[in-house]
Assembly symmetry: C2
Homo-oligomer: 220 residues x 2
DNA sequence: CGCCCCTTTGAAGCATATCAAACCGCGTGG
DNA sequence: CCACGCGGTTTGATATGCTTCAAAGGGGCG
């Protein structure tokens, strides 16, 4: 499948991938047909990619098929460079597309050599990962799904306390979720009525999650 | 303003910031009152921050005051670590909040020493930056604003061609913008009717931007 | 020529926003 | 101690922007 190439066959687009890879690692080129999948979410991340011509979309899917495209990758762009072992999103060709490919290992090894125990790339990448998840939420989830996702995110980040004390008000939650505060309030009331959560104390900021499983189901 | 501290006064939360900084750089602690601004979008990024207690929100604002919160930063979280000179978003305290602060320079210098000319952090960070802008779009912009922003993004990335040939169809644009394809189509028709763009050829994929200024105004 | 995909356009429905009012706990000052 | 005011939240009624459902146009390709 992979078309081997060498320095002499390189095209005019020599971006960071080529620079990074330099002559230390092998680059190959490959051509994808319109709609062809480059990689799927959850698949092992073996390669890093640079678009030579055409366009790639990277996206996430909800279980019901709704899709959120994170980015379009155009000629010169690098994508698919993951810190973990698996791709966090899917990628496929919008049109007939040429890409340059290099084994992820090569890059990661170069990276590892240059950085020590505490990895700054990891740090930024975690932020990126959060942003990607959030884009999916903002672009494609309903109010109820958003609020459920928010509660579960906070629950997890607060290490699943019995009583979750939210430091932020309804307005802040609303702005985080791309909703109005009234809609957030209604969603919370609805979840309370459905016995998925309960308010503790008098402030409405102390929440007890009663059914994390059903909340997670709501979160698609 | 900054409260100097040393290793002896450090609290129990010693996350990556402390590790990164180690004993190489000075850490200070500071306390923000509820609602106090830690930094504003566009301000010079002089420090990196780690939350000790409380909560910080980072967000962007549209000119009419609509706000999109990107993240809530809870104890242990690091934020405000920028690659460029300026903050890409604002940060302020949701509640009374303690943060540990270190000069950005210290970290950046450590980083620079460890990495060479081609900076992987830059790479990931650019993606993050895009994601942040996109969250604002998804959470807070109207259909017309989204489509205008999309056109301007593509225009810029394609180096302002006279005729912009979009590689993707309406469905792809819609999924990128968190809309339906019909809404994208209606928005484009509306922009055409308002003489902000014109379709070239017969495919409706070749767009000529006639009034980038008004488009940019739409994009808030 | 005819089919298929993409796009546009129209009509109706619906989820969420907007507008409005009441409630509630809390802090403050009388 | 209570009255009051105030910010935050809930709830209700209405409005609306976007989606959904539907159909027709238009171009490319077999």
């Amino acid at each position: 499948m992979l078309v081997r190439t060498n320095a002499l066959t390189r095209r005019s687009i020599d971006g960071p991938l080529a620079t990074l890879a330099g002559d230390q690692v092998a680059c190959s080129e490959f051509r994808y047909r319109r709609g062809a999948e480059v990689f799927g979410e959850g698949e092992p991340a073996e390669y890093a990619y640079q678009v030579i011509s055409g366009a790639i979309r990277t996206y996430k899917l909800l279980s019901d098929g709704r899709r959120q495209i994170n980015s379009f990758h155009l000629p010169g762009d690098i994508f698919g460079l993951e810190n973990g072992r698996a791709h966090r999103f899917s990628a496929d060709a919008v049109v007939e597309t040429e890409v340059r490919i290099t084994r992820r290992h090569s890059l990661v090894d170069v990276m590892k050599r240059r950085e020590t125990e505490t990895n700054l790339v990891d740090l930024v990448t975690r932020n990126l990962q959060h942003a990607e998840n959030h884009m999916l939420l903002l672009g494609r989830k309903t109010a109820l799904e958003k609020v459920a996702a928010f509660l579960l995110e906070m629950d997890e980040r607060l290490a699943h306390p019995n009583v979750m004390v939210l430091p932020m008000g309804r307005r802040d939650i609303a702005d985080y979720l791309g909703l109005t505060l009234e809609t957030v309030s209604r969603a919370l009331s609805s979840l309370r009525d459905e016995h998925m959560l309960r308010f503790d104390g008098q402030t409405q900021r102390e929440v007890v999650l009663l059914d994390r499983i059903r909340l997670a189901e709501l979160d698609s």
